[in-house]
Assembly symmetry: C2
Homo-oligomer: 332 residues x 2
Amino acid sequence: MDSEFMAVPITSRENLSVENPPIKCRMEIFIMRIQQSFCHALEAFEPTAKFLVDRWERPEGGGGISCVLQDGLVFEKAGVNISVVHGVLPKEAVAQMRSRGKLLTSDQLSFFATGISSVVHPKNPHVPTIHFNYRYFEVIDPSGSVQAWFGGGTDLTPYYLDEEDCRHFHLQLKQACNPFGADKYNKFKEWCDNYFVISHRGERRGVGGIFFDDLEEPTLENSFKFIQSCANAVIPSYVPIVTKNKDKPYDTPERNWQLLRRGRYVEFNLLYDRGTKFGLFTPGARYESILMSLPLLAKWEYCHSPSPGSRENDLLQVLKNPRNWLLDEECK
Amino acid sequence: MDSEFMAVPITSRENLSVENPPIKCRMEIFIMRIQQSFCHALEAFEPTAKFLVDRWERPEGGGGISCVLQDGLVFEKAGVNISVVHGVLPKEAVAQMRSRGKLLTSDQLSFFATGISSVVHPKNPHVPTIHFNYRYFEVIDPSGSVQAWFGGGTDLTPYYLDEEDCRHFHLQLKQACNPFGADKYNKFKEWCDNYFVISHRGERRGVGGIFFDDLEEPTLENSFKFIQSCANAVIPSYVPIVTKNKDKPYDTPERNWQLLRRGRYVEFNLLYDRGTKFGLFTPGARYESILMSLPLLAKWEYCHSPSPGSRENDLLQVLKNPRNWLLDEECK
């Protein structure tokens, strides 16, 4: 079984291979497979660079497997992390969940969480950065009753706008959402546009994708199928964009613009991203796995502003005013 | 009068030159002078690069003067910003001040704040980064009664440890503190070590300096004299260190280590620094002046760890376990 995975799973083989395994076990196996297939899909672009595989345990319970490829030919830094953790829910997390409308009657709550999280920063400024994260969460109260839900999303951060690429990316996500209801893509596309906002600059991090949380309707099984469909769409949504753009020539000003946008990526992740903060402020956090999302290099120039009519400015306009990438008939 | 300054002051000449000017006017004039003398001291190292001067107004009240030198021969990015702002105190700021023990009986508070803030990131990894900030704050309740205080500090972030430089820097700060009480330096040195902590990594940003807030004792006039003494010590504490190290040869691994440490600097500023967050989350914030503190370039390598016995590791040990830089007899 292990050969399908990047490393030995965190949960013991015995516990994973029970009869009629619960969702949490099936989710762990699923994200392990996604981790491997995505790492292999990226490695296929690299003549020599390979993912370094780091299996770690968390003293407070559980652990994870971090796969990182750095300084490749096509990818400057790519991280694909899975984690399977459990313990006592920090007070701040309880407050955060209540503010999202969760009914949590006790303050003494345990949790179990498992998920996959990935950020890929390519070298060529004509290849966008991708991020995706799919996670399953259980909160257990002292009586043993369990609340469970899924969350996640996939989003794209180009440095130069290629409308065809944006359309391709969003169409793949839309098709992954379609079997689960006509409203899903539109709703989660809007949620994504509203989440990845660099508020102080009044701009989005990228051209969006989908984003959602607290998914448990109509059933948890159905929600599991939904996130499987979304996670399975990552490779077809991204790999063709890499293939198309990876060998395009670029010059120093284009590289410079990419580094400046990577600085904005850092601003979003450290100032606003809920997952990064929840991660870093949780005792025993494995900060290297959380900060894997940061680019190898980032730049900040005082008051940089692209000139009107430039391709850099075209991108900025879309980041300030998010667009619908699909035609009306594709959105039905 | 303007020739002493980098630009025309924010407060009108009429209001600044009243007879017996209040502290807020004298503070504004003082920080304008500090801004100019520090900018000139840095420009003296640069054969051609000059500070770009940006005078800006804040629609909600007040404004500032941002001076930035980028891509110089000695300095990669240096920012020296003054601001003079007033308005209604945001609710979060009231809560923050109450949590520090301030007695604020109303929620309808106005504020006036003026200060100077500077970060200098040199090119050569053997020259440390310096940061300083001196500020004056007034909170005015609906009855018109005013609470006022000073805050600030100066701290040093080397990339390679030079104990002589650390001693020189701390001794200058100590001598600036001395006339105001034997305990001041020790107390504010410890405060600095406790403030500039990158908690998730268990390390400090640099080798410290002094840091304090809510200073109004024994009198506000005395506190003003104290921060003047500290701010006047910036040039003698830093300039000799630049002169000594700016022409030292360095190689690519040393430059790489500098960029990695600059990544840590970004982590502290965006995740933990109170001033940065207060600034960015205040409506109408001039984010370019706040984020001037970020380096031109920063780097994140997954799980970078310097080898035992290396000079990089020597620095890391001091960041994990802050030292006293002065001899016992110097601390009396």
